[in-house]
Amino acid sequence: MSLSALAMFVVALAAASFWLGRRRALAAAGGRAAALQSLPGYYGWYAALWSGVPGLVVLLAWMLFFGGALESLTLASLPESAHSLSSAEVELLFHDARNAAIGQASMRADDPVVIALAERWTSLQKTGLRLAFGLAFALGLAGAAYSLRRVAPGFAARAKVERAVGIALMLCSTLAVLVTIGIVLSLIFETGRFFERVPAYEFLFGLHWSPQTALRADQVGSSGSFGAVPIFVGTLLVTLIAMLVAVPIGLFSAIYMTFYSDRRLRAVVKPALEILAGVPTVVYGFFAALVVAPIVRDAGLTLGLDVASESALAAGLVMGIMIIPFVSSLSDDAITAVPQAMREGSFGLGATRSETIRLVILPAALPGIAGAFLLAVSRAVGETMIVVMAAGLAANLTANPLEAVTTVTVQIVTLLTGDQEFDSAKTLSAFALGLMLFSVTLVLNVIALRVVQRFREKYD
C-alpha cells in the first residue's frame, strides 16, 4: 500500500463510475441517446467527477500535510529524557529513525531510541495510509451513489459538468496568484526570523558584510556582521556597467534595423540576436570567467592598471552583452509603435533620417524605451550565473569597476549552497537578500508596465 496505489485506486473508482453513469443514463432512456437531455458521456463524467474528486482531495491533502503530521506525531512519543534535546538534535533523530524505517542506511540504526521511533513511524504511517484509503473509498462511494441516483433522462448533466470544468479552470488560473503569495510569504517569514537575530537597520545600512557565524557560541567573532550596503553597491556597479553596454548597443541596433537595414542584413542580424538571447546564462558566465576576464586583466596591465581577476568590469561587460537582445527587441517594439504619419510628416518637412529619429521618433517612443530600460535593469539586478562565475565573493565597498565586488544574487547562492544548518543567521540572511531582490525587481517591473501603458495612448 502506498501513495501510487491510492492514486490508482482513485482513478479506478472514477473510471468505474463513468462507465456506470453512462450505462445507467442509456438504460433509463431505453437505449435511445436522443431521449437524454445531454450526451450519454456527460452522465458518465458527472458520476466520475462526484466519485473521483473527493479521492483526489484526500490524495492532495496527504501529499501536502501528512509528512509534517507524521513527524510531529512520531516525535510526540519521545521519552521524557529526550525533552532536553535541541531542535536540531531532534530533527537528526527523526531523520535517522525514518531512514531506519524505510530500510536505508542510517548512522544509528541500533540505538534503542531510534528503533522505537522507527517502529512508531512505521505503525503511524500504516494507520495514516489506511485512514486515507478508507476516507477516499467512503467519500468516493458516497459521491458515486449520490450522482448515480440523480442520473435520469431529463437531468442536465452537461451543464453540471461544464460548471465543474469551469471551476477547475478558474482554480488553475489562481495558481499564478498563489505562487506570488507563496514567494512573498516564504520570503517575509524567513526574513522576519532573520531580523529577530540581526536588527533590520543594521542589515539595511550597515557597511560591513561578513556572514560567518561561528560553530560555538564562545568563539571569537561569533556574531558575524550583516551590513548589506557593500552588496547593494556592488550590484548597482555591475548593473550600471551592464546598462552602459546594453542600452546604447541595443538601442542603436534597433534603430538601424528599423530605419536603415536592408532585407539581407536583417535576415542575418535578427536570428543572431535571437541566438544571443537564447544562450543560457551559465554559458555567459563561463565565457566571462574564461575569456573576458583575462582580456580585461591584460588590457589593464598594458595600461598600467591593477585589475582584480574577478573584476566588476568583466562581469558587467558580459552581462551587458546578454541584455543587448532584450533591450533591442523592446526598443524595436517601442519604435514601431510610433505612428507612421509622424515619420512621414517629418520627412515631408525635409528632415534627414537621423533628424527624424532624434527629434521625432525617439521622443515619441521615449516611454516605451524607458520601460525597456527599467525592465533591463531589473533583469540585470536579478541575473545570477554570470556574476556567480565572474564576479567575486568579497564584499568590497567600492565604486571602482576594476576591483572585485559581490552582488545580491552571488551572496544568495554562496549562502545557500553547501552544508549548513538552516536556522543560522547566515542562511536566513539569504532570504532577506532575496526579499530585497524581489521587491526591487517587482517595483521596477510595475513602474515599467505603468510607464508603457500610461504614455502609449498619447498618439492613438
Binding site: A176, F252, T281, L290, E355, M385
Partner: protein
C-alpha cells in the same frame, strides 16, 4: 521687396555648408547604428568560436596501447564457481599489471619516484577498465593482452596540443622524463586519439578523463519531464480560462497583472521559493529532479500562459460563433474547435519555455542540485544534477582538463537548445495559419 537672407537661398555657400553638415551627421548616425550591430555580432561570434574551439577536443580521448601481462595474475582454487572468481577479480590490484606493462616498455626506470611518474601517464580509470574487460572475458587471463587504455588528463592535453610540450614550464605539469616517455610511445605508434565515448556515457568524476555528461543529461531529462507534466496542463487551463471564460472584473485583472509580473521575477527567487516550500515545508528530498522540475515549472508557468493566450486569441471569433450557432456549449466550442486550432501555437510556446527551463541554472542551485553525483539518476527522487549545473560545477573545478569538458558540455547543451528551437520554428511554419 527685400532681398531674402542666405537661409532661404539653397545655392548660397552658407546653406551648402549647412547641408553638408547635416549629411555628415546623418552618416555618423548611421555608422553608429552599424557599429552597434557589429559589436553585437562580434560578441556572438567570439562567444561561439571561443567555446567551440575549446570544447571540440572534449569529444576526443587519448589512449595508450599497452601489452598488459595478465598471466598468473588473478588466481583462484581449481573448480571455483563464478561468484568466487568474480570476487577474486574484484579484489585484485589492477594497478600492478599496468605498472608491469609500462616497466617492460621502459626497463631503465628503477627509482620509486620515477616509477610513480611513469604510472601517472595512464589514467586511474584504466584499472577499472582493465578489471571490467577481464570480468567480461576471463579467457584474457593467462595471456599478455595488447589493450588500448585511457591516458591521464595531462597527457591527453599534451597530445591534443592544448598544453605545450616544454617540460615544467608555465602551464606544463608533466616532467621532462614523462614527456620523453610519451614521445617514445608516440614514436612506437602506441598513442592514438579516438572518439571519447566516456564523455557521453559516464557520470561525473573528479578525474577529467573519466568524467561524462550522461548523469547530467538524464537529470535534465527527468527534471524537464516533471516540468512539462505540470506546466502544460496548468498553463493551457489558465490560458483557456483567461481568454474564453473569465469575466471582466478586478479578480481577472489581478491574475493578469500577476502573471505579467511573475514573468519578470528573477529566476533565483523561484529557487528560494522552491527551497522554502518544497524542501522545508513539504519535506521533499534535496537534489531531486522532482523538486527541480516543480521549481522550474513555477518559473516557466507565466511564459507558457502568455504564449497560450496569444495562440488562443489568434483563433478568429467566427469559428466560435459558428460552433455556438449549431448548438455547441462553451466548453465544446473550446475543446472541439478553439483548442485544436490553437495547439500549434501553444506547443511552440511550450517548447520555447522548455528550452529556457533546460538552460536554467540558478534555481537548481538553491534546491541542492549542485551535489557531486557520480551515478546516473534512476528516478525522480534520486539525487541528480542537470546539464547547466554540471557546466557550472566543472567550470569551478581546478583541474585544467575540465576547461575542455566544460566547453564540450556547453556544446551539447547548445545543440539541444538549437534542436528545440528548430522544432519550434518548424512547427510554427508548418502549422501556422493566417486567418
Amino acid at each position: 521687396m527685400t532681398e531674402p537672407g542666405f537661409a532661404s537661398r539653397w545655392s548660397s555657400p552658407e546653406m551648402q555648408e549647412r547641408l553638408r553638415r547635416r549629411y555628415r551627421a546623418e552618416r555618423r548616425f548611421r555608422a553608429l547604428g552599424l557599429a552597434a550591430i557589429g559589436i553585437a555580432l562580434t560578441a556572438l561570434v567570439i562567444l561561439l568560436v571561443s567555446i567551440t574551439a575549446r570544447g571540440w577536443s572534449a569529444f576526443a580521448a587519448t589512449e595508450l596501447r599497452l601489452d598488459v601481462p595478465l598471466d598468473a595474475f588473478v588466481e583462484w582454487p581449481e573448480g571455483a564457481d563464478a561468484a568466487v572468481r568474480e570476487q577474486a577479480i574484484d579484489a585484485a590490484d589492477w594497478g600492478a599489471p599496468l605498472r608491469e606493462a609500462l616497466l617492460r616498455l621502459f626497463p631503465e626506470v628503477t627509482e620509486r619516484s620515477q616509477l610513480r611518474e611513469l604510472a601517472a601517464l595512464v589514467s586511474t580509470g584504466a584499472r577499472t577498465q582493465l578489471r571490467d574487460r577481464v570480468a567480461r572475458d576471463p579467457s584474457l587471463l593467462g595471456t599478455s593482452a595488447s589493450l588500448w587504455l585511457p591516458a591521464d588528463d595531462e597527457v591527453d592535453l599534451v597530445v591534443k596540443g592544448i598544453v605545450p610540450r616544454e617540460a615544467r614550464e608555465g602551464s606544463q605539469r608533466l616532467s621532462a622524463a614523462q614527456l620523453g616517455w610519451l614521445a617514445t610511445l608516440e614514436a612506437e605508434g602506441r598513442v592514438r586519439r579516438t572518439l571519447n565515448t566516456t564523455f557521453l556515457t559516464a557520470g561525473d568524476s573528479r578525474e577529467p578523463e573519466q568524467a561524462g555528461i550522461r548523469g547530467a543529461l538524464v537529470g535534465s531529462l527527468l527534471t524537464l519531464i516533471v516540468t512539462l507534466a505540470i506546466v502544460l496542463p496548468l498553463g493551457v487551463a489558465t490560458a483557456i480560462y483567461l481568454e474564453e471564460f473569465a469575466p471582466q472584473n478586478r479578480w481577472t485583472e489581478l491574475i493578469e497583472v500577476n502573471i505579467n509580473n511573475l514573468a519578470a521575477v528573477p529566476s533565483i527567487v523561484f529557487g528560494l521559493l522552491g527551497l522554502a516550500v518544497f524542501l522545508n515545508f513539504v519535506g521533499l528530498p534535496r537534489s531531486a529532479p522532482l523538486v527541480g522540475g516543480l521549481t522550474l515549472a513555477l518559473m516557466t508557468l507565466p511564459t507558457i500562459i502568455i504564449a497560450g493566450r496569444a495562440a488562443i486569441e489568434a483563433v478568429p471569433p467566427s469559428i466560435r460563433e459558428a460552433a455556438r450557432g449549431i448548438g455547441a456549449s462553451p466548453l465544446q466550442v473550446t475543446g472541439h474547435h478553439v483548442l485544436p486550432l490553437a495547439l500549434p501555437g501553444i506547443l511552440t510556446g511550450t517548447i520555447l519555455g522548455m528550452a529556457r527551463a533546460l538552460g536554467e541554472t540558478a534555481p537548481l542551485l538553491m534546491i541542492g542540485m549542485v551535489a557531486f553525483v557520480v551515478d546516473v539518476p534512476g528516478g525522480f527522487r534520486d539525487a541528480a544534477t542537470a546539464l547547466p549545473v554540471q557546466i557550472f560545477l566543472w567550470a569551478d573545478s581546478p583541474e585544467r582538463g575540465f576547461v575542455e569538458k566544460t566547453s564540450g558540455a556547453i556544446l551539447v547543451l547548445l545543440a539541444f537548445l538549437i534542436a528545440m528551437n528548430g522544432i519550434a520554428i518548424w512547427l510554427r511554419q508548418r502549422f501556422e495559419r493566417r486567418w
